[in-house]
Amino acid sequence: MSAQPTTPIRSDRAAEKAALRKALSSTPRPPRASAVSAALTFGWRGMLKVKHVPEQLLDVTITPVMFVLMFTYLFGGAIEGSTGDYLDYILPGVLVMSVLFTTVYSGIALNTDLTKGVVDRFRSLPIWRPAPLVGALLGDSVRYIVAGTVIIALGLALGFRPDGGVVGVVAALALVVVFAFALSWVFTTLGLLLRSPNAVMNAGFMGIFPLTFLSNVFVKPETLPSALEAFVDVNPISILATASRGLMAGDAPAGDILVVLAVAAGLTAVFAPLTTRLYRTRG
């Protein structure tokens, strides 16, 4: 450009202006995007972020791999007497734990988003109000599925042969993802209430860590002191782990599945509207 004489530069400017006028000449307003379409578009936004920074997927893949290997080979012998038997017990448990840990990141991501100007644009668009949130969580659900798939693939490589077959395993994964989606709303609420991404991470893990360990994910509740056993038995995470084990083993525990779905519905009913409200009013 700099080597060219002045005339072409001037006509460049004129061409630029002509292009500008053409671009401005009224684009008719299409009918509004439906709620589903808006939410899916936000889901697409989440996917694009993963595409541009694929390292994000490391924490949802490497951590579960570490958990499976560590628990199977480190504790398997001590807890169950053999690593193979413990794998049947621990694999659905690690699936539950890894996916639920990942839900904290939904809150961290939302908190980070809020510091950016783009949220103002989203809030000023004529779209279904919860769409940015529902869409982000749909995008996160893809991460949950990735994490779950990695765990199951690793389990199969280590000799895990569930009696429930493909259907049972997929159903277990689906149940865990549905519960994770519901639990994410708790962390998005937290993400809107707390000031920094770090605060969300600390508070999130402070909650999810003990809840996961005080469940039947790692050990059978019968081995625990009775007060603790009582808590572990009613912990929804235990019920989710039991339901997942059942589905993978081929005998679907209808009662447990219903409890899990009811808790998921309850969490969503309380925290989704709360998150939506905070998203609109904060800042």
């Binding site: 292009a19 401005l24 009224s26 578009t41 694009l48 100007g117 000023s124």
Partner: protein
């Protein structure tokens, strides 16, 4: 009937808008009337309440008191209808840094209801028009400030809005980027879009706006056309900086005589300014100074700055008002 007519030609009508954050009254009773199809400037320093006003009108904040209609829709009762006809370019560029320029525009197009194919075509068209075609596939976090601003404006017109809020669109831009943004704003107005422009620069409001409201401490303190506003300040000023501050009292006398106007002593102990529109007369006055043996370091003749507008309107400078000054102002007002 008359009131109906005036309704239909006003794009924004606000009365008594107020918003407080804790103890701070960010906006304290703002009235605005913006004609459809015009550019209206809201001029004020940082913290005057410009952004809060825009955020209320764009339905991002709920006013504590007062009411406003945007293109006939109430901003509280009919917020969703307002969102359907306006677009917002915020002070922080309202684009997603973690996506590419093209993805940003497709995202907005999809959210506004365009089909995938249409959203892609529209994104390509806008990237071309805003000189971003080469950077279309790059992440926005690697864009320059000017490119970001242009993308931001492009995102605001994916679907042509009837009204656009622009919050300090050129703050921090180099002159070339600023001119590009001004060209875009002019082209938008030519297409009939109404624009509410918040700015810190009198020059910018003067270039673009048909009407201006000057806002300070959450209140509109003056309103009018740029010409009226400048006339109220004195249409321009001669600013002189002396080599030796000791000469200032003498220089003050010389300038006052030469230009028959009151001379203002600047905070800089060697600087003075005096209202003067005419470059020839300013040159004569400088000649008088040198004849009087006063050495001039530099001088300039120009439009009044925001600071001068503020000084003329409020008696205090636009920025960094100290508590002492504020107290003095209040005491003056009470005495008057």
């Amino acid at each position: 009937m008359i009131s109906l007519n005036s309704h239909s030609t006003l794009a924004i009508e606000a009365s008594g808008l107020a918003k407080a954050f804790g103890e701070t009254k960010a906006v304290d009773g703002v009235d605005l009337a913006v004609r459809s199809g015009s550019v209206y400037g809201v001029l004020g320093p940082n913290g005057a309440g410009k952004t809060t006003t825009i955020r209320m009108l764009a339905t991002l904040l709920r006013p504590d008191a007062g009411s406003a209609r945007v293109l006939g829709h109430d901003i509280v009762e009919e917020a969703d209808a307002v969102r359907g006809v306006v677009s917002l370019t915020g002070q922080l560029a309202s684009v997603d840094e973690d996506l590419t320029g093209r993805e940003n525009l497709i995202l907005i197009g999809r959210l506004l209801g365009l089909k995938w194919a249409d959203a892609k075509t529209r994104a390509a068209e806008l990237l071309e028009a805003f000189g971003l075609a080469d950077a279309a596939g790059r992440l926005v976090k690697n864009y320059s400030g000017g490119m970001r601003r242009r993308l931001d404006l492009a995102a605001s017109i994916v679907v042509t809005p009837q009204l656009m809020f622009l919050d300090e669109p050129t703050t921090g831009l180099d002159p070339r980027s600023r001119n590009q943004v001004w060209d875009i704003i002019r082209a938008l107005t030519a297409e009939g879009t109404t624009i509410l422009l918040c700015t810190q620069y009198l020059d910018e409001a003067d270039q673009l706006a048909e009407g201006i409201a000057v806002i300070d401490h959450g209140k509109v303190i003056a309103e009018g056309t740029p010409a009226q506003l400048k006339a109220s300040v004195g249409s321009g000023a001669l600013r002189v900086r002396l080599l030796d501050p000791e000469d200032r009292p003498e220089a003050e006398g010389v300038l006052a005589r030469a230009l028959a106007a009151e001379v203002h002593l600047e905070p800089d102990p060697s600087a003075l300014s005096v209202s003067c529109a005419d470059a020839d007369r300013a040159a004569e006055a400088i000649g008088e100074l040198s004849r009087a043996g006063i050495a001039v370091a530099n001088f300039s003749v120009g439009q009044p700055t925001l600071d001068e507008v503020f000084l003329a309107l409020t008696g205090h400078p636009a920025e960094e008002e100290t508590i002492e000054e504020a107290t003095a102002n209040i005491e003056e007002e009470q005495a008057a």
